[in-house]
Amino acid sequence: MTARLAGWIVGALAVALVLATFVPYGGGALLVFAVPGAIVASILTRRRPAGHENRDAAERLLVAAGAVTGERTSSDGEQVDWGAALRAELATITVPRERRRFAVGAAVALLGRPQSRRSSLVAAAVAVAFGAGLLAVSRAGLGDDGLGLVTLLLPPVVLYTIAYLCARSTRSLRFGLETGIVAALTILVAMAIVYGVEAAHWYQVAPDVSVLDGDYVDYDSTRAAVLDAAHPIILLVHLVFWSPWPFLGAWAGRQRRGSPPADA
């Protein structure tokens, strides 16, 4: 982590803490978004390296496509940076129209092969583990806070870590992003299922307790308890809280040390 990024995070947390004391509701949300906001601000305000100002549209397109795609592994295990390979090839083309045509085709080549099967497998495994863990926590007892605190705060850590590891292991922002986003959606599905099952279970055990926050709620049926716990608004709020973390994890994982052999 750079000193500049650390400064942004400390500053954002300080501002969020001050603001949170004046806001009656939603102060927690300010804190949750402080760190992602600081990282995004740090990215947007960073200086461009020298020599990058003269890039034309074709080169910018390839740089962007290469940043998302990362490296691929050849059959002998060698990591091939196809983005760098295509940028190097572009550097030999001087006619602007031909550069644009080549860059468009090359970007299609870089972006056209999703790694969705691996992403789906990782995301499914994570969702199953999360769902099983949440179920175990619920059966151990709801406590005073219910499951809401767990489902709100744990998935961001999980999503950041998955996206970070996937992006870092493959040097592919795209793979990290794909896996993180698919994991967020599958975890949401797993959470909704567990909330439904556990709302029904706890309605039989303690009919007036919400699985979301452990508060007393006067449910008149199992269906009402289930619909309250797995309500679309509840799911949407979770998704909003989780959404920055796959992006940040993938971005951080892509910032691995070491540069490709031929960076344009």
Partner: protein
């Protein structure tokens, strides 16, 4: 287990173009121009062939100053066998007397290194 699908005419063209340059390395853009194919067609083929071990890749070791090292491609031993199988299959499919106008082939004689 990898599915074995019939290669597309474009894949055949790329493989045969690389096979026609067995000693040296080829550049991706040269292949595009030689075959009249777009980068969006040639590079996915090269990526796939490299992942399957049919194409070897390397970086130019001594690039001219002012531009980055280019990426180079050539058939591996497995790739050469694949090219030979493609030639044999193409020869078997094309009726006698029309072989010279058969499968898509790279324009011969164009420099590709």
């Amino acid at each position: 287990m990898r599915r074995s699908r019939k290669p597309t005419p474009q894949t055949i063209a790329v493989v045969l173009a690389l096979a026609d340059n067995p000693a040296g390395w080829s550049h991706g853009y040269s292949l595009c121009r030689q075959l009249g194919l777009k980068a969006g067609t040639v590079y996915p083929i090269l990526m796939r062939l490299a992942e399957r071990g049919q194409v070897e890749t390397a970086w130019e070791t001594d690039p001219p100053s002012g531009r980055p090292a280019r990426h180079l491609y050539r058939l591996s031993g497995e790739g050469a066998r694949f090219a030979e199988a493609l030639r044999t299959a193409a020869a078997a499919e094309i009726p006698r007397g029309r072989r010279s106008r058969g499968v898509i082939r790279p324009a011969l004689g164009e420099a590709s290194s």
